[in-house]
């Protein structure tokens, strides 16, 4: 569980850092957070789960930072419609 959380967290972090987070990075990040929390519940000393959860939280937050604002895309879609 901890290893999976760490992998997902790193993936979310990488996607978030390179601004390609939304929506894939957000989904992966949330999965990493859930698995990290479950891993920590099973074993509070599980460092991998903690690390995975932290990476996933940061990745998810970064993905949301680059989430398109309402105004940014409406104009683009309006020109396409």
């Amino acid at each position: 569980m901890g290893v999976t959380a760490l992998v997902l967290g790193i993936v979310a972090l990488v996607l978030g850092v390179f601004g390609m987070g939304f929506p894939v990075g957000t989904i992966v990040g949330i999965l990493g957070i859930i698995l990290g929390a479950v891993g920590k519940k099973q074993n509070p000393e599980n460092g991998l789960a903690t690390g995975g959860m932290v990476c996933a939280i940061i990745g998810t937050v970064l993905s949301l930072l680059f989430f398109f604002a309402c105004s940014a895309c409406v104009g683009g879609l309006a020109s396409m419609a």
Binding site: L65, A69, C70, S71, L77, A81
Partner: protein, 285 residues
């Protein structure tokens, strides 16, 4: 890659709510990992529900054939009232899968809802959606070159006012929680308080394309339904705890005061602007 203010405020809202949730889970000797699970499920399902309702309300206005589905999903806004039921479903799912004692954790979650929502509203202010009526007074907001907001026109900062009232509501709920108010009364305070302020502030909104029926907006109708349900519940459970009655009275008082204040303010201000947008998108949260 540009950092978008809307997503930034959502992220900040989640982080701040998480920090307060961590403090409360320590205060009430609860496992913060369970809080994180409830957060993750509730927010994920809530955002999906909010997005689905937004797409449903704008179904006929979206050009489904000319835009990619990913663009349609990533664009536009959310409808808060659409997120609530699905968010609740997510929390029930978390309870079932991870065996979480909801009765102990839900009271802590209630004050966090309006707190996170307040940051979303600040994001709306930066994005220009959910704008207010024309207004030429203190704290008026003017947008420049906005594709969704009337440009070069002073508008009432209704998003910021709602954010401030949501933070106030969160403070009231937090105080009530720390004073030992039970879950039923907390829910009454939250749903009644939010429905009251949402119903009232809708009178100060200038984006008429969000949907009006019989003189009231979609959110106003939903708010009235919620308030009616609370009154029914109060009638059914009137012989139970006194604090529930006090919560109901507080809500009715808040509704009366806010609605009257909003109507008076609207009458004093100029009328709703003619819409300047080239399309009829709406970005309600």
């Amino acid at each position: 890659m540009e950092i978008q203010p809307y997503g930034t405020m959502i992220a900040i809202g989640i982080v701040v709510s998480g920090a307060v949730g961590r403090y409360l889970s320590k205060r009430f000797a609860l496992d913060f990992n369970n809080m994180i699970l409830l957060f993750a499920y509730g927010l994920s399902f809530g955002f999906v529900g909010a997005k689905c309702m937004y797409l449903l309300l704008n179904f006929q206005k979206i050009s489904w054939s000319s835009c990619r589905l990913s663009e349609i999903i990533a664009d536009g806004g959310f409808v808060f009232y659409g997120g609530l039921p699905l968010g609740a479903l997510g929390i029930l799912l978390a309870q079932g899968i991870h065996d979480i004692e909801l009765k102990r954790y839900l009271p802590i979650c209630v004050p966090l809802l309006p707190l996170g929502h307040a940051f979303g509203r600040i994001g709306c202010h930066f994005a220009g959606c959910c704008y207010g009526i024309a207004y030429d007074g203190p704290f008026a907001v003017v947008y420049h070159n906005s594709p969704i907001t009337p440009s070069e026109t002073p508008l009432f900062p209704v998003q910021l006012l709602e954010a401030a009232l949501l933070i106030l509501l969160s403070g009231i709920l937090l105080t009530a929680l720390l004073k030992g108010l039970r879950l039923g009364s907390l829910f009454t305070l939250y749903f009644g308080g939010y429905s009251s302020l949402r119903f009232s502030l809708e009178f100060l909104r200038g984006d008429a394309e969000r949907g009006i029926a019989a003189g009231l907006s979609t959110s106003q109708w939903i708010s009235l339904i919620i308030l009616a349900l609370l009154l029914v519940l109060h009638t059914i459970y009137r012989h139970r705890e006194n604090s529930m009655k006090k919560a109901i009275y507080f809500v009715l008082m808040a509704l009366s005061l806010l609605a009257v204040a909003a109507c008076c303010l609207r009458n004093k201000l100029t009328s709703v602007l003619p819409q300047k947008r080239t399309n009829d998108r709406q970005d309600e949260v």
